[in-house]
């Protein structure tokens, strides 16, 4: 990052801070809410799961309205501190930041993470699309500031933030991507005929799922059972951490815990999106850029290596690659990742 760019950045940042008080009343309406806290005291299993060392629940919860869809926002830090926006990955929720966000808040930032439509405490929408998620991200940003703001995104959230930054360069002061840099998919080593059959099976399976979507509910279980199910896709994460996540991203019904995510959502794409399109946009980004990659192969990761993305870095952009770390860099190494981020963000 050049000195000139950094100074520019500080200047922009000061403008935001100065405008904060002036604009507090003209942002989108923010409604404080209580994220599903029950009146009864926690049972022993719940209390134990909630007591994960280093995890801290948000200081405030608000609901904002994105074109008719209610989105849950979670905040750490002082309300008048400079804001930083965080975006979680696909099939995740902002609970994934309960280790990292407090470290940034303790360093003087107001950290805001939102649950994407259908995820966490946000409303289950009728329709889901990449473009709708980007539009929602802008609605969240508008609810925080009309100026610029640093953004941090993990996985799909990192990719969303790259698109937001490309579409709204005047709103994003710097961009931090946590293992959300796609690389080109390897060419399938199958004949065209076989590939067509695979695609047909996948499409039929998705359509079958849609036919039954209106009556789907998530399977209930104990905290441990939900954590074990999540461990299939998050095999590197500490099971105690996954149990903690259950107490944030799942709700306790009469018949057990079940993930809050909309049951009509299904992993994977249903359309023509291609990861190289995101890579092609990277060199155009105009704000300071930091990418953090976990080098260990992981179920949910694109498996991107530094050499895949370095050719596409914007001017002055930086890549940090973490050895012995998987896709959830911020959950596996919250302290190291927070240090990288705080070092990269402007000094408060």
């Amino acid at each position: 990052m050049s000195k000139i760019r950094f100074l520019n950045h500080v200047h922009k940042f000061s403008t935001v801070k100065a405008s904060l008080k002036r604009c507090l009343n003209c942002f989108l309406p923010r409604i404080t809410y209580d994220p599903g806290v029950t009146n009864s005291p926690d049972d022993a299993e719940t209390a134990a799961a909630k007591a994960f060392t280093g995890a801290r629940r948000p200081d405030r919860h608000t609901m904002i309205n994105s074109w008719g869809v209610s989105l849950a926002c979670h905040e750490w830090g002082e309300l008048d501190a400079p804001p930083v926006l965080m975006a979680h990955g696909g099939f995740d929720f902002s609970g994934t930041f309960h280790l990292l966000a407090p470290l940034l808040a303790d360093a003087g930032w107001r950290v805001i993470a939102w649950d994407q439509r259908g995820h966490g405490d946000s409303e289950h929408a009728t329709l889901y699309s990449w473009d709708a998620d980007v539009r929602d991200a802008l609605a969240v940003l508008d609810s925080i500031t009309i100026g610029t703001c640093p953004v941090i995104g993990h996985s799909k959230g990192g990719n969303l933030m790259m698109q937001l930054a490309d579409a709204q360069p005047h709103r994003i002061s710097c961009l931090i991507n946590l293992d959300g840099l796609p690389s080109k998919w390897p060419s399938p080593d199958t004949s065209d005929h076989e590939r067509t059959l695979m695609l047909a099976e996948e499409l039929a399976s998705r359509l079958d799922y849609r036919r039954g979507a209106s009556s789907k509910i998530r399977r209930p279980g104990t905290i441990d059972e939900l954590a074990q199910r999540r461990a299939v896709m998050n095999p590197r994460l500490n099971i105690e951490w996954l149990k903690y996540l259950v107490t944030v991203g799942a709700r306790q019904d009469e018949d057990g815990w079940r993930w809050k995510i909309d049951p009509s959502l299904r992993l994977g794409g249903f359309g023509p999106w291609r990861p190289e399109w995101a890579l092609q946009r990277m060199p155009s980004l105009s704000m300071p850029f930091l990418g953090v990659l976990g080098l260990e192969p992981d179920a949910m990761s694109w498996g991107t290596k530094p050499h895949d993305v370095i050719p596409y870095l914007p001017p002055g952009g930086r890549i940090e690659a973490l050895a012995e770390t998987g896709h959830f860099v911020h959950a596996e190494r919250p302290v190291e990742v927070s240090e990288l981020i705080l070092d990269f963000l402007p000094t408060i």
Partner: protein, 225 residues
């Protein structure tokens, strides 16, 4: 004129209006309207020789179907709308206008044994947005977003999102190939549209895709079992 009957079908959180326009013997013909349109109330001239019953589906956010809040439209989700209609009607032949023609191509590939012939015609939303990515990033919003499921149609989010969706030629070709390989029909898809765009150019190159008039195509499909 008004439809003989309108049935509301459930697709996840949406209620879809499926209208029966005529009765008849044999396989139903399913009409898919263009972007921003709604189902016709009578059988169009070009389909009047169809021997079977004629039905027409209102896509999500169109006609009498419910309007979602906050947009999020994709052609693939409209394909799933059509699949809900197929689950109700059984095997169908499809006549799609514009966007409905592109969606008809998708379902013809994805449900190759259920769709017995697809005719794609000119109409609103035929071309879509860029033929391939990347395109410059943008965020589309509307001046008067829907306020509830009974908001007026068409949903302005449908208009902006489905006129700008990316339709890569090789992606469209995949669906034509699936229809050709798995339908068991010689010519499962007929391009009756006169308009040309990269995805249409790619599709008409595929084996199993005919170019013909709507009337001739429907006569061919009416003759198959």
């Amino acid at each position: 004129m008004s439809p003989l009957e309108t049935i509301m079908l459930t697709h996840d959180k949406t209620q879809l209006a499926l209208h029966q326009l005529t009765t008849g013997e044999g396989r139903p013909l399913l009409l898919l309207h263009g972007l921003g349109e709604e189902s016709p109330t009578s059988v169009p001239e070009s389909a009047q020789q169809w021997p079977g019953p004629v039905w027409a589906l209102d896509f999500t956010g169109h006609g009498e179907s419910t309007v979602p809040l906050g947009g999020g439209y994709t052609s693939e989700m409209l394909m799933a709308d059509v699949d809900i209609a197929i689950a109700h009607l059984g095997k169908v032949t499809i006549l799609g206008r514009g966007l409905g023609g592109y969606v008809a191509l998708l379902i013809a590939g994805a449900r190759a044994t259920e769709v017995r012939g697809t005719v794609i015609t000119d109409g609103p939303g035929l071309f879509g947005g860029p033929s391939s990515g990347p395109s410059s990033a943008h965020i589309l919003t509307v001046a008067n977003p829907p306020s509830g499921v009974n908001s007026p149609t068409p949903d302005p989010f449908a208009l902006i999102e489905l006129s700008t969706d990316i339709r890569p030629p090789d992606y469209a070709s995949n669906f034509a190939q699936m229809a050709a390989q798995m339908s068991g029909l010689d010519r499962p898809i007929t391009m009756a549209a006169r308009g040309r765009s990269p995805w249409i150019d790619a599709v008409i190159q595929e084996v199993g895709v005919d170019t013909n008039t709507i009337e001739a195509a429907l006569a061919n499909y009416a003759a198959i079992a």
